[in-house]
C-alpha cells in the first residue's frame, strides 16, 4: 500500500521541479503544493512553462510572464513563461530585421531552422535561468515551484564545454540544437549558475509525477534516470489518481481498481527505490484554491455526480474504420503523445481493415518486445503482416553513420558535441521517419498503417533538404529515394490519413492541438481524432469515476465542436488488447 502524500513529511527545497508526461497532473499537484506552502506562511512563486498552461484555469486568474499575486491565497505568486512564445520572440529577433531585406523564400528557410523542438527547449531553459540564477528573484521567495522541468538533452547540451567555445562560430560543425544559444554566449555564467542550482541537493527537488499505469510509470522511470545522470539527484515520485477503494459490485470500478493495483505492483525497480507517494483520484477537475487544498488533505468529500441521462452519442472506432476503408486510404498514421494509445489504435485499425479484406501492413515504433506482447511471435495473420521499427536501433545506426564520418577529423570536444546533438528529438524523428519511408516504399500494393507520424517540422526540413539536394544533383548526403516519394504522398489526402489520438483531458487535448497545427504547417490536415480511454460512455455507479466522466465531457465536446473534422471515442477497457482477436473486440464494445 502506497503512502499518501503529505507535504508535512517532506523537506521542501527552495526550487521544486515537477516533471511527467502530459495529463498526469503536474499542474494540479504543483499548484496544490504551492498553496499548501503558502498556507504555512511561506512566500511561494509558482511558474508554468507550459505553452498551453492550465495554471490560469486552476487559479482562475489571468497570468502573464510578469509575476503576479494570486488573489485568494496569501503569499502565493505566479507567472506563466511560455517557451514557444519565447522561441517565437527569439526567432523574430533573429529574423525580423531581415524581412524585406532578404527575399521571402530565404527568410522562410531561416525560420524553419529555428522551429525545432530543441529551440523551444533551450528557450524554456533560458526562461528558467532568470529565476534560478537571479538572486533578486530567488531570495525574495522561500520556494519557487516549476510545473515542468528541463529535459536531460537540454541539460547535457548546456554542460558541454563545446557549447560555449568558439568552434561553434568558427566552424560549421555547429548544430541546430544550439542555434538559439549561439547568440546567447553572454549568458554563459548565468547558465552555469542555473545548472549548479539544479544539481544542488539542498536547493532543488525533482518531483516525478506519474499515474498508476504501466506506461506512465515506465516513462517516470526513464525521466528519473536521465535527470539523475545530469545531476538532479534529489527526487521523489507522486503517483497521481490512485483509486483508494473500488465500489464493490460495480464491474467498471472493480476493473479500474484491479488494473491500477496491478500496475503499482509492477513498478520499475529503480523508481521504487525513490520515495513514493500516492495522490488520490479526485472526481472532476481541480480548479480554485479551495478544491486544490483538498488534494493533499485527509478528508475528502466524495460528492457523487449523477449519471447523465441524455448522453451525447459519439461515433466509435468502427466509424473511423469504415471511413478509411471506403475512402481507400493506403497510408495511415496514428499520431499522439506517448501513452495515449497510438499503438492500440493503429493495431485495431490494421486488424479491422484486414478483416474487411484489405492487405495490410502494420509497422510500429514500439520496441519489438511490446509488439510481441500484442501479437506474439507471429508476423502474419491472413491479410495482415507486421514489422517493427526499433527507434533505438535506427538512431544508433544513424549515429554510427555520422560519427564514423567525422570522428577522424574532429577533436574530442567537437565529437562530444555532435554526439549530444545526435541525442536530440529531431534526430530520432528523422532516423525513424527514414525507416518508415522504406517500409512504405516496400509495400506498394498494401495499406500501410504506422503507429506514429512525423511532425510538421521534420517534414519541412526533409522537404527543404530535398529541394536543396535536387539543386546540387549530387549523390552525397542525399535524402533517400523512399523519403522523397513519401513526402508528396503524405500531402495527398486521397492516399494518406493521419489519425490523431488523445485522451479526454486538458493537457493531452492541448498537446494534440499543437501536433495538428504543426502538421498543418506542412500542408497535412488530419481528419479523424480518436479520444481513447474514455469513461464518458461507460455505465458505472462509482462516484469518482462518474465525476471523471463528467469532467471528460467538456473535452470531448471541445474536440468535437472546435478541433476535429470527425471524432470517435474508444471507451476505457480493462484488458490490454493483446492479440488479433482481442483487437477486434474494440469494435464490439459499445462506444
Amino acid at each position: 500500500m502506497l503512502k499518501r502524500f503529505d507535504p508535512a513529511e517532506i523537506t521542501m527545497t527552495p526550487f521544486m521541479f515537477f516533471t511527467g508526461k502530459g495529463g498526469v497532473g503536474k499542474t494540479s499537484t504543483a499548484s496544490a503544493l504551492a498553496i499548501t506552502l503558502a498556507d504555512q506562511g511561506k512566500k511561494v512563486l509558482i511558474v508554468s512553462t507550459d505553452p498551453a498552461s492550465n495554471l490560469q484555469d486552476v487559479f482562475k486568474t489571468e497570468l502573464t510572464n510578469n509575476i503576479s499575486a494570486i488573489p485568494d491565497v496569501n503569499g502565493l505568486f505566479a507567472c506563466n513563461l511560455d517557451p514557444e512564445e519565447a522561441a517565437r520572440a527569439y526567432r523574430e529577433r533573429t529574423i525580423g530585421p531581415y524581412r524585406g531585406k532578404l527575399p521571402e523564400s530565404v527568410v522562410q528557410t531561416m525560420e524553419e531552422q529555428l522551429s525545432g523542438a530543441c529551440t523551444v527547449e533551450i528557450a524554456a531553459f533560458d526562461e528558467f535561468t532568470n529565476l534560478l540564477a537571479n538572486p533578486e528573484i530567488h531570495e525574495e521567495y522561500d520556494h519557487i515551484i516549476f510545473d515542468t522541468a528541463p529535459t536531460g538533452h537540454t541539460l547535457r547540451l548546456l554542460q558541454l564545454p563545446a557549447a560555449w567555445t568558439d568552434f561553434l562560430n568558427e566552424s560549421t560543425h555547429g548544430a541546430s540544437c544550439l542555434g538559439p544559444l549561439s547568440g546567447l554566449s553572454a549568458k554563459k555564467d548565468l547558465y552555469a549558475n542555473s545548472l549548479g542550482a539544479l544539481s544542488d541537493r539542498e536547493k532543488t527537488t525533482l518531483i516525478l509525477v506519474s499515474r498508476p499505469e504501466a506506461s506512465a510509470l515506465a516513462e517516470a522511470d526513464r525521466a528519473s534516470n536521465e535527470l539523475c545522470d545530469t545531476g538532479i539527484k534529489r527526487q521523489l515520485v507522486l503517483i497521481n489518481g490512485v483509486l483508494k477503494n473500488e465500489l464493490k459490485g460495480d464491474s467498471i470500478s472493480e476493473a479500474f481498481y484491479r488494473k491500477q493495483q496491478k500496475a503499482l505492483c509492477a513498478i520499475p525497480a529503480k523508481l521504487a527505490e525513490l520515495p513514493l507517494y500516492a495522490v488520490p483520484l479526485i472526481a472532476g477537475s481541480l480548479t480554485g484554491p479551495q478544491s486544490l487544498r483538498k488534494l493533499f488533505t485527509k478528508n475528502q468529500s466524495e460528492s457523487g455526480i449523477a449519471q447523465e441521462k441524455d448522453r451525447i452519442e459519439i461515433p466509435s472506432l468502427q466509424a473511423v474504420l469504415d471511413d478509411l476503408h471506403e475512402s481507400n486510404k493506403n497510408v495511415i498514421f496514428t499520431m499522439g503523445k506517448g501513452g495515449v494509445g497510438k499503438t492500440t489504435a493503429a493495431s485495431a485499425i490494421a486488424v479491422g481493415l484486414a478483416e474487411k479484406g484489405k492487405r495490410v501492413h502494420l509497422t510500429t515504433t514500439d520496441p519489438a518486445s511490446h509488439l510481441t506482447h500484442i501479437f506474439g511471435n507471429e508476423h502474419s495473420f491472413g491479410n495482415l503482416t507486421i514489422s517493427s521499427i526499433d527507434p533505438k536501433y535506427e538512431v544508433e545506426k544513424y549515429r554510427k553513420e555520422v560519427l564514423s564520418r567525422v570522428s577522424a577529423e574532429l577533436d574530442e570536444e567537437a565529437i562530444a558535441y555532435i554526439k549530444e546533438d545526435l541525442e536530440s528529438p529531431c534526430t530520432e524523428e528523422i532516423a525513424v521517419f527514414r525507416a518508415f519511408a522504406e517500409v512504405v516504399a516496400r509495400a506498394k500494393e498494401e495499406v500501410v498503417v504506422i503507429d506514429t507520424a512525423p511532425t510538421g517540422h521534420t517534414l519541412l526540413l526533409l522537404d527543404a533538404a530535398h529541394s536543396y539536394h535536387k539543386e546540387l544533383e549530387r549523390s552525397t548526403g542525399e535524402v533517400p529515394e523512399s523519403v522523397k516519394e513519401l513526402l508528396p504522398k503524405l500531402r495527398n489526402n486521397k492516399e494518406t490519413e493521419v489519425v490523431i489520438v488523445t485522451l479526454p483531458e486538458a493537457t493531452p487535448v492541448f498537446e494534440a492541438v499543437r501536433l495538428q497545427e504543426d502538421l498543418k504547417r506542412a500542408d497535412i490536415s488530419p481528419k479523424w481524432w480518436v479520444i481513447n480511454q474514455s469513461f464518458y460512455a461507460l455505465d458505472t455507479e462509482d462516484p469518482i469515476l462518474r465525476g471523471k466522466a463528467a469532467y471528460e465531457k467538456e473535452w470531448i465536446l471541445k474536440v468535437k465542436n472546435e478541433l476535429a473534422k470527425d471524432l470517435a471515442v474508444i471507451p476505457w477497457l480493462e484488458d490490454e488488447q493483446i492479440g488479433y482477436s482481442e483487437l477486434l473486440k474494440i469494435y464490439e464494445k459499445k462506444g
Binding site: L102, P103, G174, A175, A465, T476
Partner: protein, 115 residues
C-alpha cells in the same frame, strides 16, 4: 593572399547531423576548411541561420539572393567575387585557390572519398 568566404544556407545544422540526411560533403568541406584555416589562410564561413546580417550587407550576396533565391546557397566568394553558386568547392579548387597541394587535403580525411 586569397580571401575565401562561404555563405551557407540555413540548414538544420551544418553537419546535417540532426538534419534530414548525413551530408559527408559538408563534413569534407568543413574539415578541409579547418585545415586551411589552421595554415593561416583567410577563410570566413557564415550560416544564414545565425548571421543573416552578413548576407544582407554584402552587396554581391544580397543581390544574388534577391535574384535567385535560397538555391544560390552555398555561395562561394573568392576575393569578393562570386565564384560558385549552390555547390561547395572541391578540394582541388580549394587547393588551387590557396596554392597548396590538394593531396594535403585528401590525406587528412580518409573517410570522405567522395569527389
Amino acid at each position: 593572399m586569397a580571401k575565401l568566404e562561404i555563405f551557407d544556407p540555413a540548414l538544420c545544422c551544418a553537419t546535417g547531423v540532426c538534419g534530414p540526411s548525413v551530408d559527408p560533403e559538408l563534413a569534407r568541406v568543413a574539415s578541409a576548411l579547418f585545415f586551411l584555416e589552421g595554415k593561416g589562410f583567410s577563410i570566413k564561413r557564415y550560416n544564414l541561420g545565425n548571421e543573416p546580417d552578413v548576407y544582407v550587407n554584402n552587396p554581391t550576396v544580397s543581390k544574388l539572393l534577391n535574384e535567385k533565391g535560397p538555391d544560390v546557397l552555398p555561395l562561394i566568394l573568392l576575393n569578393g567575387k562570386a565564384i560558385k553558386e549552390g555547390i561547395y568547392p572541391t578540394n582541388e579548387e580549394l587547393a588551387s585557390w590557396f596554392g597548396v597541394n590538394a593531396a594535403i587535403l585528401e590525406a587528412k580525411k580518409s573517410s570522405s572519398s567522395l569527389l
